[in-house]
């Protein structure tokens, strides 16, 4: 299968009928994790509106299935790195919503002690390597994480996320080349949410099937329904196995969608409301998971509501914490420049 994958540049994607079912625990866990991200981001948007979050704030609403599904395919020791739309990735990695929200509000108990903000958070403990603000800069960095894994001879995998916009940066292809040349264990997860800021991928990309972007580097790639957490997890399992076996990098193009604008100040006039509504009503990853849970009678309406309430309470507690936590001490201005 490996050779075939390389030959036609795209591995055989997992089709809808082949999507493996989740167990009860997996479906409920994924629902809870995706809902946590959704509620966190809604609250972040609200906090921005209240002036409690400043600067840039890029929300992940709509794309939750991608990080939650991928995270289910990982083990401790694997590394995650992404760009600036990063809140979902941090929560999926298990970082505390309190610390993330407190960083958004620029407070002393934020993950970066208030010095990074929305785009710059890290957790050595959880294997989250940021949080990078320059489009595609995380791609060579994530390739370097994979280099370190190979250098040390462990079986950890670097999950390097970037968007359809970043896919047009030159350093992505410099990285692809080295990753395949040196057989580095890195999964390039391209989150194709169709718009690079306000430019549709059809207006920015000569080849819009981004899973084929590894073609001339012999990197196998496949398109994945990024709105179905089960499809994401199945693709993640496959790619992780490929990397752990020492076969080199793998590309997963996640077909996803962001419901909100690029950032808080984007009115999103480059697409129709009908387009957004169609996805929300028929392809929402969280609604779909909820329906599955009810349909399979894995939980009653009331039990699902209980999860909803728990998630909401957890996010409210994070918001409360991030609102009352003090700003960093002014002496922090000059710390952490060197160590």
């Amino acid at each position: 299968m490996a050779d075939a994958a390389v030959k036609d540049a795209t591995a055989t994607p997992i089709t809808a009928s082949q999507v493996p079912e989740f167990t009860k625990a997996q479906d409920i866990g994924a629902y809870r994790d995706m809902l946590t991200i959704r509620r966190f981001e809604e609250k972040a948007g609200q906090m921005y509106g209240m002036g409690l979050i400043g600067g840039f704030c890029h929300l992940y609403i709509g794309q939750e299935a991608v990080v939650v599904g991928m995270q289910m395919a990982l083990k401790p020791g694997d590394q995650v790195i992404t760009g600036y739309r990063d809140h979902g990735h941090m929560l999926a990695c298990g970082m505390d919503p309190k610390g993330v929200m407190a960083e958004l509000t620029g407070r002393s108990h934020g993950y970066s002690r208030g010095k990074g903000g929305s785009m710059h958070m890290f957790s050595v403990e959880k294997g989250f390597y940021g949080g990078h603000g320059i489009v595609a800069a995380q791609v060579p960095l994530g390739t370097g994480l994979a280099f370190a894994n190979r250098y040390r001879g462990n079986d950890n995998v670097s999950i390097t996320y970037f968007g359809d916009g970043a896919a047009n940066q030159g350093q992505v292809y410099e990285s692809f080349n080295m990753a395949e040349l040196w057989k580095l264990p890195v999964i390039y997860v391209i989150e194709n949410n169709r718009y690079a800021m306000g430019t549709a991928s059809t207006r920015s990309s000569a080849e819009t099937n981004l899973s084929r972007r590894g073609l001339s580097f012999k990197i196998p790639g496949e398109q994945v329904d990024g709105m179905d957490v089960r499809a994401v997890k199945a693709a993640g399992d496959k790619a992780v196995a490929w990397c752990r076996a020492g076969k080199g990098p793998y590309i997963l193009e996640m077909l996803t969608y962001r419901y909100r604008g690029h950032s808080m100040s984007d009115p999103a006039k480059y697409r129709t409301r009908e387009e957004v509504d169609e996805i929300r009503q028929h392809h929402d990853p969280i609604d779909m998971a909820r329906h599955r849970i009810i349909e399979k009678k894995w939980a009653s309406e009331d039990e699902v509501k209980k999860i909803d309430t728990e998630v909401r309470d957890r996010i409210n507690a994070a918001t409360e914490f991030a609102t009352n936590d003090p700003e960093p001490d002014l002496s922090e201005l000059f710390t952490d420049v060197y160590r």
């Binding site: 209240m50 320059i134 350093q171 419901y259 000059f334």
Partner: protein
């Protein structure tokens, strides 16, 4: 309990907006994420999404209302089992609405003083200046001195550090099989193998970033640029990823990495291959910048750079690679970063330089001595953190200062030294600081023009005499 929907701020600068349109009416069910209204600002029309679920109990601000202040309640959402009678309708008074943004607030608590008020802030010294650089380690009397080239000293430094620490590796273009474009990595592949001495494709931006990623993961990369001219392709990864991550992570994640290679003019390679980047890198907090002149300093400082937990820019010079100097034969010769050296003591005028500039400075000092002017020549060795103390102490003695660099004058390192001398030794100066530098043109190819574009011994002699009024 009924939940208020507040007028949102849709940009960092928005203070008020117009409520253009309601898309839901009272009594409608609202789901989290539903678009409920449209808001006009001076820049755009934006949609407002509900963050809470329930029934739209009451619209407090009718559509068409102009200049609604941010954070004014615009509607009320009712939860399960609540009805509109539970609403204690707040008065619609946009003008009275209190601005929410912290920067607009007049209330400043003692624990959160405004940064703009310098009097209230006891400013700590910048991190770079906090640690006093140590003195050079004593070289015991009777230590054998070995004459070697700068090239050999650099190679030995890398080899010694690679033997000492298995996390140290070397990567770059032609560093392995070719033995280095300038033969600085000669023999490393043979001793350490291709796992630790890695030929990269010609892909500066990519391998610089890959190196930083490996550094973030805890390895200690030594990244060779064939010349620093090519590192401009990698500038974003050096500055944005290597230099800033420690700060942006609140000290949690940093990067121990050395970027090294020849910097500045070689000979007759024209404008794109003859630039001095000393001032570019020394501008950046978060990196250290080293530019040695002698072989001993090259060895001792490259070993220190590899051990340093921060990103280090190590600027070498192609012409100096072949120059020979005595190097102490010691098992582990490591020099302190951030410490200048008095290369030649004197009492009449201070000449400050580094790297290739030192060759002009030292020859000029010899010329000056013949005319009875004793120049004190300081080799900075490290440009960031800069050893201001050694410069100032010398100027306090001589009262005169000349800087020598190959780079351009505007925003150059010489300009920085002149400013520091003015700030710390103004009363000791008997003449304005003079700067000898590369001429303000791209490097020409023609031999005579290139010679004219670079600083010369005569330029330094002339400047030293001028500040001495001779």
């Amino acid at each position: 309990m009924p939940t208020n929907i507040l007028m949102p701020a849709l940009s960092p600068t928005m203070e008020k907006g117009n409520l253009a349109k309601w898309l839901k009416k009272e009594g409608d069910t609202v789901r989290s994420g539903d678009i409920i209204a449209e808001i006009e600002t001076d820049k755009a029309t934006m949609e407002v999404e509900a963050a809470d679920e329930g029934t739209l109990g009451k619209i407090l601000v009718p559509e068409g209302t102009q200049d609604v202040a941010v954070n004014t309640p615009i509607a009320v959402i009712l939860g399960d089992g609540e009805n509109a009678s539970a609403i204690k309708a707040p008065a619609v008074a946009p003008a009275a609405a209190k601005p929410a943004k912290p920067e607009q607030s007049e209330e400043v608590t003692e624990s959160q003083p405004k940064v703009e008020e310098p009097k209230a802030v006891k400013t700590p010294k910048p991190a770079a200046a906090q640690s006093e650089p140590a003195e050079d380690p004593d070289v015991p009397a009777g230590t054998e001195m070995v004459t070697m080239t700068v090239r050999e000293a650099l190679r030995d430094a890398m080899a010694e550090e690679m033997r000492r620490d298995k996390d140290v590796f070397v990567m770059g273009e032609e560093v392995a099989e070719y033995q280095g474009a300038y033969k600085v990595t000669q023999g490393l592949l043979q001793e350490f193998g291709d796992r630790r001495v890695i030929d990269t494709p010609i892909t500066e931006h990519g391998f610089a970033g890959l190196g930083v990623g490996a550094g973030l993961a805890g390895l200690k990369p030594v990244v060779e640029f064939m010349t620093f001219n090519f590192a401009m392709q990698a500038m974003d990864q050096i500055i944005n990823s290597a230099a800033k991550t420690l700060y942006m992570s609140g000290g949690q994640m940093g990067c121990s990495i050395v970027f090294r290679g020849p910097n500045g003019a070689a000979a007759r390679v024209a404008a794109q291959h003859s630039q001095d980047y000393s001032s570019w890198y020394s501008h950046i907090p978060g990196i250290k910048v080293i530019a040695p002149y002698t072989a001993a300093d090259a060895k001792g400082l490259l070993k220190a750079a590899i051990r340093d937990p921060n990103p280090v820019i190590f600027l070498e010079n192609e012409i100096l690679y072949g120059h020979s100097f005595p190097v102490p034969k010691l098992d582990d010769y490591v020099l302190p970063i951030g410490k200048a050296k008095i290369a030649r003591p004197g009492r009449d005028v201070t000449i400050v330089s580094w790297s290739m500039g030192m060759s002009y400075a030292l020859k000029a000092a010899e010329e000056l001595a013949k005319e009875g002017i004793e120049a004190e020549v300081i080799d900075l060795r490290t440009l960031r953190p800069m050893d201001t103390e050694t410069i100032v102490a010398s100027v306090q003695k001589t009262g005169r200062c000349v800087t020598v660099e190959e780079g351009w004058q505007q925003s150059g390192v010489g300009a920085e030294i002149a400013a520091r001398v003015m700030e710390h030794a103004f009363d000791y100066l008997d003449a304005p600081v003079a700067r000898v530098s590369g001429k303000d043109v791209p490097m020409p190819y023609a031999a005579n023009l290139e010679k004219l574009a670079l600083p010369s011994v005569a330029d330094v002699v002339e400047a030293a005499k001028a500040v001495s009024y001779r």
